[in-house]
């Protein structure tokens, strides 16, 4: 670089530096999410464009310099602010429940059917296994549970004598959310992990019912399960459907690369898990406060169980929130 062009660059830098400092100050204001005047917003957008030009010039005049690195960084941060989606967790949650979850439910009809079938089938197999070979109950129930049933009481009878309802609820909902996440996430292994979780849970449910039936206590187990089980099992089946969708995307990605197919499937199916996990909080509370409490009769339990189930269906179908049709038409 000769002296003349060198001094031209120096002059240019001195002239532009204040513009960049001003732009940086506006960027800070954006970050603090402070209200900006419309003039400032326009100034910021204009500054962003001129920053691109300045970076091109700086790269030519001062390649790999501090100034170039500074401008690159400033440009990227401005790019981020300009392209960032409107930030409101509340409106995002509303949009999720109004449009995205109902759409995901429709798109995942096949996997939901598959997941439900696998779960029911493994329940039946579990039942048949233990019904015909009662000694196999030890596969699905701990020795303590087995001896308790043999003595004529269910292991659920004295839960509240050991822990208070609040503790039972928290432990159960944490465990169920973990199962849900595993049923979904293990779909990343070509769906095999999901099949394992769904199959195992189905076998256990069927097996344990057959075992209690053997001692004439299946009706009492049903009474315990019904209040929380409707939603709890539904959510696990939905998470299984989400995992099956992941596996399907990997097994037959179609025109897309496996990673693209996997990502699209995860984004779609993840929405069911995003709604399912909070529903398990409600199911956990019911399981801690209502299910083990002998004061509630079967009718109350069924009303709670199916009532919460209907709430879940309304939530998943988007019927709890108005304005659905209008937005769907707009999006077409």
């Amino acid at each position: 670089m000769n002296d003349k062009s060198d001094s031209a660059v120096t002059h240019w830098l001195q002239k532009r530096a204040d513009v960049w400092r001003r732009h940086e100050a506006l960027l800070e204001r954006q970050r603090g999410r402070k209200d900006m005047h419309s003039d400032e917003v326009l100034e910021f957008a204009h500054g962003y464009r001129s920053l691109s030009r300045d970076l091109s010039l700086a790269r030519n005049a001062l390649p790999n310099s501090n100034i170039t690195r500074y401008l690159e960084s400033l440009l990227l941060q401005s790019y981020d602010v300009i392209h960032r989606k409107p930030y409101s967790l509340l409106s995002q949650a509303k949009y999720l429940l109004q449009y995205e979850v109902p759409r995901a439910m429709r798109d995942l009809r096949g996997p939901i059917l598959a997941s439900t079938s696998i779960f029911i089938l493994s329940c039946i197999i579990g039942w048949l296994l233990v019904f015909n070979y009662p000694e196999l109950a030890s596969l699905f129930a701990s020795p303590a549970m087995i001896s308790q049933v043999q003595e004529g009481s269910l292991w659920t009878d004295d839960i509240l004598n050991i822990f208070p309802s609040s503790v039972v609820s928290l432990q159960i909902l944490t465990n169920n959310i973990a199962v849900t996440f595993f049923a979904f996430g293990l779909g990343a292994f070509y769906g095999l992990g999901t099949l394992y979780i769904m199959g195992l849970n189905g076998l256990m449910l069927g097996g344990v019912f057959a075992f209690t039936h053997h001692y004439n206590m299946a009706d009492r187990l049903f009474e315990f399960v019904i209040a929380h089980g409707v939603v709890e099992l539904s959510v696990i089946v939905l998470a299984g459907a989400a995992g099956i969708k992941l596996g399907e995307a990997l097994v037959r990605p179609g025109q897309r690369t496996r990673r693209e197919a996997f990502q699209q499937a995860a984004a779609l199916a993840g929405k069911l898990v995003a709604v399912g996990a909070p529903l398990l909080v409600g199911a956990g509370i019911i399981e801690g406060y209502i299910s083990p409490n002998p004061d509630y009769d079967l009718t109350t339990r069924m009303v709670v169980g199916f009532g919460y189930g209907i709430f879940m269906l309304l939530l998943l179908s988007g019927r709890l929130f108005p304005g659905r049709k209008h937005a769907e038409q707009a999006s077409l």
């Binding site: 660059v9 120096t10 530096a17 400092r21 970076l55 501090n66 690195r69 981020d80 984004a267 995003a274």
Partner: protein
């Protein structure tokens, strides 16, 4: 050659950012792990001290009756801290955590913008899978085998980890702000700033040689000193004066 992502801004100007590999990721995680463990331990012992009046841990948990107070005030907050640390902080800090910030890395979406809350939650759901069977075994294997150094959670959420290069005002000020009229050009200021930035990394002989050459080139007096240490100091001072 390190893997990069290219972000195209207004006017088609492209900026590249280096992707963080296993090293950067692990460093960030180790920092975060220590922060979580230190807070957890502090909370645990402080809770025991307040509830029982002593630091006798065995006694606090060896009571015959289950203590709901101990459970809700100690165990539950610790569980919440360890479960929510990553998802909540990554959302609130725009793809960073304290550990990631210290390691100089950040989660962004594939187009270089801040990752959405949904994407961050999704990558954290898959944290359970990446951490299998122990110590992030699956995650580490997948990161090593994937071209963009992604774990399963990142693949699902469409996110990448990049090395951050924050716009440092000092860099601009070093080159453009000038109170004295030393008469040196922008290119020369750049060189001076560069040399001062790398001062500690260079051997003493080399940096003194560079400093002398640079001062001569800038037509500045080259200070002299009999002691090597002293010469080092006065040369650095002379360079710093040029940027003041």
């Amino acid at each position: 050659m390190a893997e990069t992502i290219t972000i195209t801004s207004a006017g088609g100007v492209e900026v590249e950012r280096e992707l963080a590999g296993l090293g950067g990721r692990s460093l960030g995680y180790i920092y975060d792990w220590h922060i979580r463990v230190l807070i957890s331990l502090a909370w645990f012992y402080l809770g025991i001290l307040i509830i029982t009046g002593s630091l006798d841990v065995e006694n606090a948990f060896n009571v015959k009756e289950f203590s709901e107070l101990t459970y809700w005030s100690i165990a539950v907050p610790l569980l919440a801290l360890n479960i929510l640390y990553h998802p909540v902080l990554e959302i609130v800090m725009n793809g960073r955590t304290p550990g990631k910030r210290m390691a100089g890395i950040r989660i962004v979406s594939k187009d270089g913008t801040t990752a959405s809350a949904g994407a961050i939650l999704l990558r954290n759901v898959f944290r359970l899978i990446d951490s299998l069977p122990a110590a992030y075994g699956i995650g580490i294997i997948v990161v090593l085998r994937s071209k963009q150094h992604l774990r399963i959670g990142d693949m699902a959420a469409g996110t990448v980890l990049i090395y951050e290069d924050k716009a440092d005002r000092k860099r601009l000020d070093m080159v453009t702000q000038s109170d004295n009229d030393s008469g040196i050009t922008a290119t020369q200021r750049e060189l001076v700033a560069e040399l001062l930035g790398r001062w500690k990394e260079l051997s003493r002989d080399k940096r003194q040689q560079f400093a002398k050459n640079l001062l001569e080139k800038c037509a500045q007096p080259v200070p002299a000193a009999t002691q090597a240490d002293e010469l080092d100091m006065v040369l650095k001072q002379a360079l710093e004066n040029l940027l003041k």
